[in-house]
C-alpha cells in the first residue's frame, strides 16, 4: 500500500478513534449528569415522603384541619415529583414504580378518614377509623421505603456512572496514547527506517560502493524509490564496469599495438612536423643499439647522423608536402650489403596540412637474397630440362624456338645452337602440317588456347634427316610479355607403336579361331549392345561385322527369341553364369540350342559385359524325345496293371509310382514323384511298412501281407520289396509291388469260421465255444455245481487298430489271448468270439464269488505293458461275469447276462469287472 494511502488511513483512524472516544466520554458524562439529577430528585422525594408521614401521624392523632390541608398540599407535590419520568430505563427504578403505584391511592383513604373526623359514633366506625389510619400509615411507609430504596438505587447508579465516567476518561486517554504510539511506530518503521537506509545507501554509493542494494520489498513510494535507487546503482555499476573494461581493452590494445610494432622486423616511427621523433619502436634499439625511447624528441639528423639525413632529406621533404613516398635504400654494414624499403606516409589533417609522417623501414636484405636465389634456381631447371628424357622445345609468342634440350637434340637430330631463334615449323613440323600449325599459332598468340594446348596427343614430328618420328606431345601455354609462349614436351613413341602392332596380330589370330568354331559367339556391353560377333553368329543372323557392332541383342535375335534369353541376361548382368536350353523356329522346323552366358569382369570384380556362346543341340533333343516315348509306353503298361508299382529311393522318396496309386490311394502319381513315402501314404500306413522298408533297403528281398485302409476301402495287400542294388553292392532304392489279396483273405476267414479254432489266436472259435457252453451247463446241472461265464474285450481296441494298423492290432490280440490262457485252469475254456471279444467258461466252482478272483487276476495280468513289434503299449480289459447254479439255464441267457455285466464294467470306467448272478 502506498504511504500516501497509509497516511490517509492513519488520519482517518485517528479521527475515528477520536470520534468513538469522544462519543464514549460524552455518553459517560451525560449519564453522570443524569444520575446526579436523579439523585437530587430522589432525595427531594424522600424528604417529601418523610414530611407526608409526619403530617399523616399528626392528623391521625389530632384531626386538625391545618394538618389535613398541609397533607393534601404535600401529597400533591409528592405525586408531581414522582410522576416525573425519566427516559433512560436504566435510571427508572423499581422502587419509583412501587411508589407511583401507591401514591395515588393515598388521597382516597385520607378523604375517608377525614370524613369520619375525630368523633367515635360506634364500634364499627372506631374499627374502621383504626383500619384507615393503619392503611394510611402503612401505605405512607411503603412510599417512604420506596423513596429510601429509590435514593439508594440512585446513589448506587450515580456512583456507577461516576466510575464509568472515570474509566472512560482513562480508556480514552489510553486509546489516544496507543494510537499515538502506533502511528509513531508505524511512521518510524514504514518511513524513517527506509529513509535512513536510503540515506546510508546514497552515502555508500557516493563513496564508490556500487555493489550495495536496498533490500526493500515494500509496495509503497519508498519501496519504489528503493527499487529505482537499486536500478540506478545497478546501471551505474554496469556502466562503471563497462568503462573499466573499455579502458582495460584500450590499454590492452595499445599494449598489443606496441607489442606488434615492437616485434615487427621493421623500424616504425612517427616524425612530427618539426622533424622530431614522437615514437620509435623497439626495433630501433635492435638496429641502432640505443634505447628506442632515446629517439623521442630528437631530429633525424641528430639520431641518424648528418650524412644519412642528407640522403633522406629529399624524400622527407616530399612526404612533408603530403606525398606518399616509397624507396629502397642500401647501406653497407659490417661489410655486408643491407637493403631497406623505406615508406613515408604523411599524417594528413582534415584541412590537408601535414601533421607528421608515419615512417616504416623494412629490412629487405632477405628478399633481395631470395631473388638472387631464384635466378640461380632457373639455371638449375634449365639443367634438368637439358637432361630430361623427353624432348623439350620452348617457343615464344612469335613461334621462334627459345629452348631446346639435349633429348630434343637426340630425337630430332638438331643441336641446340642450330635451332635457337629458328621457327618451330621449319625445324620439326612436317611440311604437310605446317599450314595448320601456322593457323593454330595465330590463334594461340592472341588467346593462349588451341586444340593441342594442354593435351597429350600423338603427332608425327620431322627429323633432321627428313623421316618422321611418332611422338606423344604435350604443350603448356605460359604468359610472356602480354602474349603467349609455349613449352612443348615430346616423347618418342616409335617403340610402343611397334608393340601395339604385334598385339593387333594376336587379336586377329584369336578372331580367326573364333570365327571358325561351330558356335555363335558374341560379346555385349552392359547395355546389351553387341561389341563383337564371330563369323558363325554374323552368318546365322545375316549381318556384317560393322552392322552388328553397337546393335542391340533383341534386335539381332528377334523379340521372341530375346524373351527366352531375358532371365539369363538378368543373371549374367548381375555377374552370374547361366545356361539356356532354348528352341527356335527355323525354316518351319523347330531347332534346339543351348546358350551359355558368361560375364566379363574387370580386375576389380565389376561386370563389364558378357559373352553369349550358342550351340545347336537339335539332334541331342531328338534322341531325348525318343527315350521319353519309350518311357511313356512303359508307364501306360504299369498304369493299367491292378497292382501298386513304385520305386523308392534311399531317402524313401518315391521316384516312380503307377496309375493304380490314384485308384487305390487317391494319390496323383505325377505329384507324388520326389515326395517322401510317409507324406504320400500317411503315417499309419507308413508305420505298417517301415520295418519291411528298412529290411529291403539293407539289401534283402521282403515279402509281407498287410491290411490297409485308404480312401474308405480296406484292402489286404500282399507286398514285395526288391532292392535295386548298384554294382558296388550298395542299394540305390527299392522296387515295390503290392497285390490286392482281399478276396483271397475273405475266403480264408470264412474257412476259419467254419473251422473250430480261431486262426489268429489258436483259441476255440464261437462255434466251438457254443458247443462247449451247452456241455458245461448240462454237466454243472448234473453235478450241482456253479458255472460262470466271463465276457471280455480289449479296452479301446479300435484306437489301437486305427493308430498302429491292423498288423499291430492282431499282435495285441495274440498276446491278449496268450495271457488269458495263463490265468485259468486247463479245464476252463477260453474262446475268441470275434474281433477283440473273448469269453472264458469256468466250471466246477464252489462259490458264486470264485469267478471274481479270476477276473481280478486277469485285470492284474493285463496291467503289464504289451511289447508288440518293438513297441510298448498299455492295454487293459473290461470283464462282465455271469454266474449261475440254477437248473435249466439257457446258454443264450447266460451270455446275455455276461454281456450286460460287461456293459456295466465299461460304464464304470473300464479296466474293471462287474458281476451278475443268476439265482
Amino acid at each position: 500500500m502506498k504511504i500516501r494511502t497509509q497516511l490517509f488511513l492513519s488520519g482517518l483512524m485517528a479521527m475515528l478513534v477520536t470520534a468513538v472516544a469522544g462519543g464514549f466520554a460524552w455518553d459517560a458524562d451525560r449519564r453522570a449528569r443524569l444520575s446526579d439529577q436523579d439523585l437530587q430528585h430522589t432525595q427531594l422525594v424522600a424528604q417529601q415522603v418523610a414530611n407526608l408521614l409526619v403530617l399523616t401521624q399528626e392528623y391521625a392523632n389530632h384531626f386538625e384541619p391545618r394538618a389535613a390541608q398541609q397533607w393534601r398540599q404535600r401529597h400533591a407535590t409528592l405525586e408531581d415529583g414522582l410522576s416525573k419520568s425519566f427516559n433512560d430505563p436504566e435510571l427508572s427504578s423499581l422502587a419509583a414504580q412501587v411508589a407511583r403505584d401507591h401514591v395515588k391511592h393515598l388521597p382516597g383513604v385520607f378523604t375517608r378518614l377525614a370524613e369520619l373526623g375525630d368523633q367515635s359514633r360506634d364500634n364499627f366506625t372506631e374499627r374502621r377509623k383504626q383500619f384507615l389510619v393503619d392503611q394510611l400509615l402503612t401505605n405512607t411507609q411503603v412510599l417512604a421505603d420506596s423513596a429510601a430504596r429509590w435514593t439508594t438505587d440512585s446513589l448506587h447508579k450515580q456512583r456507577l456512572a461516576s466510575q464509568r465516567y472515570q474509566t472512560t476518561q482513562v480508556a480514552v486517554l489510553v486509546a489516544f496514547l496507543a494510537m499515538l504510539l502506533g502511528q509513531t511506530w508505524w511512521l518510524s518503521r514504514r518511513v524513517l527506517v527506509p529513509l535512513a537506509e536510503l540515506e546510508r545507501a546514497t552515502v555508500a554509493v557516493e563513496q564508490g560502493e556500487l555493489g550495495l542494494r536496498i533490500a526493500s520489498q515494500a509496495k509503497n513510494e519508498l519501496g519504489s524509490l528503493a527499487r529505482q535507487f537499486n536500478a540506478m546503482v545497478a546501471a551505474l555499476d554496469e556502466r562503471t564496469r563497462q568503462l573499466r573494461s573499455e579502458i582495460d581493452m584500450r590499454h590492452q590494445s595499445e599494449r598489443r599495438i606496441q607489442m606488434i610494432t615492437d616485434n615487427m622486423p621493421a623500424l616504425i616511427s612517427y616524425i612530427d612536423k618539426e622533424g622530431r621523433y614522437q615514437f620509435a619502436n623497439a626495433y630501433y634499439q635492435t638496429i641502432y643499439g640505443v634505447a628506442s625511447s632515446s629517439f623521442v624528441g630528437k631530429t633525424v639528423a641528430e639520431t641518424l647522423g648528418t650524412e644519412a639525413y642528407k640522403a633522406l632529406q629529399p624524400y622527407l621533404e616530399s612526404a612533408f608536402r603530403g606525398e606518399h613516398v616509397t624507396f629502397e635504400r642500401s647501406i653497407v654494414e659490417k661489410g655486408n650489403d643491407v637493403h631497406f624499403l623505406v615508406d613515408y606516409q604523411p599524417d594528413l589533417k582534415e584541412d590537408g596540412t601535414v601533421d607528421g609522417i608515419y615512417v616504416m623501414v623494412l629490412d629487405i636484405t632477405a628478399r633481395k637474397s631470395a631473388e638472387l636465389k631464384r635466378a640461380q634456381s632457373e639455371d638449375r631447371i634449365r639443367a634438368i630440362l637439358t637432361h630430361a628424357p623427353d624432348a623439350f622445345v620452348g617457343m615464344d609468342d612469335g613461334g621462334l624456338i627459345v629452348e631446346w634440350n639435349r633429348q630434343a637434340e637426340l630425337t630430332f637430330g638438331w643441336k641446340r645452337e642450330e635451332v635457337l631463334g629458328r621457327k618451330v615449323a621449319e625445324v620439326i613440323i612436317p611440311e604437310e602440317m605446317r599450314a595448320a600449325h601456322e593457323k593454330g599459332l595465330e590463334r594461340f598468340k592472341s588467346s593462349g588456347t588451341g586444340p593441342v594446348i594442354n593435351n597429350r596427343i600423338e603427332v608425327e614430328a620431322l627429323h633432321r634427316d627428313g623421316h618422321t618420328v611418332p611422338a606423344q606431345m604435350s604443350i603448356a601455354a605460359i604468359m610472356h610479355n602480354g602474349g603467349y609462349a609455349a613449352n612443348a614436351f615430346l616423347h618418342d613413341i616409335s617403340e610402343s607403336k611397334a608393340s601395339a602392332a604385334k598385339l593387333a596380330a594376336v587379336q586377329r589370330r584369336l578372331q580367326d579361331v573364333m570365327n571358325n568354331i561351330p558356335a555363335m559367339i558374341g560379346y555385349f556391353d552392359m547395355d546389351e549392345h553387341c561389341r563383337f560377333a564371330n563369323h558363325a553368329g554374323l552368318t546365322f543372323y545375316g549381318l556384317k561385322a560393322e552392322e552388328a557392332n553397337g546393335m542391340a541383342l533383341s534386335q539381332i535375335i528377334g523379340q521372341a527369341n530375346y524373351e527366352q534369353h531375358r532371365p539369363h541376361l538378368q543373371k549374367v548382368l548381375a555377374g552370374e553364369r547361366s545356361v539356356l536350353d532354348g528352341r527356335i523356329d527355323l525354316n518351319g522346323k523347330t531347332a534346339s540350342f543351348q546358350a551359355h552366358f558368361i560375364p566379363e569382369r574387370s580386375e576389380g570384380g565389376l561386370t563389364q559385359g558378357f559373352y553369349i556362346m550358342t550351340f545347336d543341340v537339335s539332334k541331342l533333343k531328338e534322341a531325348e524325345r525318343e527315350r521319353a516315348k519309350v518311357d511313356q509306353r512303359l508307364r501306360t503298361i504299369t498304369d493299367n496293371l491292378p497292382v501298386l508299382i513304385s520305386y523308392i529311393d534311399q531317402d524313401r522318396r518315391l521316384q516312380f509310382c503307377n496309375g493304380t496309386f490314384k485308384d487305390w490311394l487317391g494319390v496323383d502319381p505325377k505329384k507324388a514323384v520326389g515326395c517322401h513315402v510317409r507324406d504320400i501314404i500317411g503315417e499309419p500306413l507308413y508305420l505298417q511298412r517301415e520295418a519291411q522298408m528298412d529290411q529291403a533297403l539293407s539289401g534283402e528281398n521282403v515279402r509281407f501281407e498287410v491290411s490297409s485302409e485308404a480312401i474308405g476301402t480296406s484292402r489286404y495287400l500282399q507286398t514285395v520289396y526288391i532292392p535295386d542294388q548298384r554294382q558296388d553292392g550298395s542299394v540305390a532304392g527299392i522296387y515295390a509291388m503290392s497285390t490286392d489279396v482281399t478276396e483271397l483273405k475273405k475266403v480264408e476267414q470264412q474257412l476259419s469260421v467254419l473251422a473250430r479254432y480261431d486262426s489268429l489266436t489258436g483259441l476255440p472259435n464261437r462255434r466251438h465255444f457254443e458247443e462247449k457252453l451247452q456241455e458245461a451247463l448240462d454237466r454243472s446241472e448234473r453235478l450241482r455245481q456253479c458255472v460262470a461265464l466271463l465276457f471280455l474285450d480289449v479296452d479301446k481296441f479300435k484306437a489301437i487298430n486305427d493308430t498302429f494298423g491292423h498288423g499291430i492290432g492282431d499282435e495285441v490280440l495274440k498276446e491278449f489271448a496268450l495271457r488269458l490262457t495263463k490265468c485259468v485252469r486247463k479245464t476252463d475254456t477260453v474262446a475268441r468270439l470275434a474281433g477283440d471279444e473273448f469269453v472264458i467258461l469256468l466250471e466246477g466252482l464252489h462259490t458264486m464269488e470264485e469267478p471274481q478272483f479270476v477276473a481280478r487276476k486277469i485285470i492284474g495280468t493285463m496291467g503289464f505293458p504289451f511289447e508288440v513289434a518293438g513297441r510298448v503299449l498299455a492295454v487293459s480289459t473290461s470283464i462282465g461275469i455271469a454266474a449261475s447254479d440254477a437248473v435249466g439255464v439257457i446258454p443264450a441267457r447266460l451270455l446275455a447276462l455276461a454281456d450286460e455285466a460287461l456293459y456295466q464294467a465299461k460304464g464304470a470306467g473300464r479296466n474293471t469287472f462287474r458281476s451278475i448272478n443268476l439265482p
Binding site: D101, F124, F131, L137, T138, Q141, D145, R149, T152, H156
Partner: protein
C-alpha cells in the same frame, strides 16, 4: 408384631434414613402455584440454583398459606407466602423466619362477583355471601375492601373455601362473590364468562410475596439460603431482560394461557427486599385480625423477630431497609 415384621420395619426405617441422609444437602422448597412465584420457576428452569451451588427440590402447593403450613409441618424447608398467612401463623409459631420479599403487587387478590347477584361496586357487597380463603390474603383483602368502603364485615356472610374451589362455588351460586388470588381469579372470571363481574377496588392492599424459612435451617444454612437468593436475583434480572421468555416459562409451569399473563403482568413487581413496610404491614394486619376477631386479642408478636436479614444482607446489602 412378630420378629419378621420388626425386621421389615427396621429395614424400611433404615432405607428412609439413608435417603434422608443422602438428601441432607437439598432444600425442599414449597412453591405456591401463582405468577408471583415466577422467579423461582425461572431459576429452576435455567439451572441457577445448581450453578449457585444449592440443591433445591421444588414442592408445589396451591396457596402460600398451604406452603407455609408445609414448612411448619416440616414437609418443606422454605416456602413462598403472602404477608397475611405470616401474620396469622406468627401468633402461634416462632418456627419460621421471613428471609426476603420476592415480589409485590397491588392487584393480585380480586373480588369476582356473579352479575346476577347485582354487585356493581363494593357498596353492593353488603348482605352478600362471599367465598373467602381463611387465614390468607383473601380474607384480609375482603375486609380491607369492606372497611375502606364503610361496610361492616359482619354484614357479609362468608363461606370458607380453598382458592381452587372459587369457580365451582360461584358457578353453583353458593357464593355471590369470591375473594381469590391469581390465577384463580382469572380462571373464575373466564369460567363465568359474561356472568362474571370484577368488583372494583382502589388497590390499597399492597401484597408482598415473601420467602419463609424454617427455624431449623436459619443460621445453620445461611450460605445455602444466600445461594438461593442469588439464584432468585439472577432470575429477576432474566425476567427484566427477557420478559417474553420468562412469560413462556410461566405459561408452561402453570399450564395457563397468555390471557392470564396479560391480565396479571402489568402489576407484578419482582425484586428482592426486606423493608420496614413489611413490618408495618404485618403489624397493621395483626391489629386488624384482633379488631375483627379473627385472632383472640392479645399482645401481638414483635415482628422484628420474624424477619431474618443475614442471607439477603450477604447477597445485596441495599435490599435490606429496616433497622433492628
Amino acid at each position: 408384631m412378630n420378629f419378621q415384621l420388626r425386621i421389615a420395619h427396621f429395614a424400611v426405617l433404615a432405607l428412609v434414613l439413608i435417603s434422608v441422609q443422602t438428601r441432607a444437602g437439598e432444600l425442599t422448597f414449597g412453591v405456591s402455584r401463582t405468577p408471583l412465584s415466577l422467579p423461582i420457576y425461572v431459576a429452576d428452569e435455567l439451572g441457577y440454583f445448581r450453578s449457585e451451588g444449592v440443591a433445591v427440590t421444588l414442592q408445589e402447593c396451591v396457596g402460600g398459606h398451604r406452603c407455609l403450613a408445609a414448612v411448619l409441618d416440616g414437609r418443606a424447608d422454605i416456602a413462598t407466602s403472602a404477608d397475611t398467612p405470616i401474620m396469622f401463623r406468627s401468633f402461634d409459631s416462632a418456627d419460621f423466619y421471613v428471609i426476603a420479599t420476592l415480589a409485590t403487587t397491588a392487584d393480585d387478590v380480586k373480588l369476582i362477583a356473579r352479575k346476577s347477584a347485582g354487585i356493581k361496586d363494593p357498596a353492593g357487597l353488603s348482605g352478600k355471601t362471599v367465598g373467602v380463603v381463611l387465614g390468607s390474603s383473601s380474607q384480609y383483602f375482603l375486609d380491607s375492601c369492606l372497611l375502606l368502603n364503610g361496610i361492616d364485615p359482619k354484614s357479609v356472610s362468608t363461606v370458607p373455601m380453598q382458592p381452587e374451589q372459587a369457580t365451582m362455588l360461584l358457578q353453583s351460586k353458593k357464593v355471590d362473590v369470591a375473594a381469590v388470588w391469581e390465577p384463580f381469579g382469572y380462571q373464575a372470571s373466564k369460567a363465568l364468562g359474561s356472568e362474571a363481574a370484577l368488583v372494583p377496588n382502589e388497590g390499597i392492599y399492597k401484597l408482598s410475596w415473601n420467602l419463609v424459612a424454617h427455624r431449623k435451617i436459619v443460621r445453620v444454612r445461611d450460605n445455602d439460603l444466600a445461594a438461593l437468593l442469588r439464584a432468585i436475583r439472577r432470575a429477576n434480572q432474566y425476567i427484566e431482560q427477557s420478559p417474553k421468555e420468562a412469560q413462556s416459562i410461566l405459561r408452561r409451569r402453570l399450564a395457563v394461557d397468555q390471557g392470564l399473563i396479560d391480565w396479571v403482568w402489568p402489576h407484578l413487581r419482582f425484586g428482592l427486599s426486606l423493608d420496614q413496610m413489611l413490618l408495618k404491614t404485618l403489624e397493621s394486619q395483626a391489629r386488624w385480625a384482633m379488631q375483627e376477631g379473627h385472632v383472640a386479642p392479645r399482645k401481638p408478636p414483635n415482628y422484628l423477630r420474624v424477619l431474618y436479614e443475614a442471607p439477603l444482607q450477604q447477597v445485596d446489602p441495599r435490599a435490606v431497609a429496616f433497622i433492628r
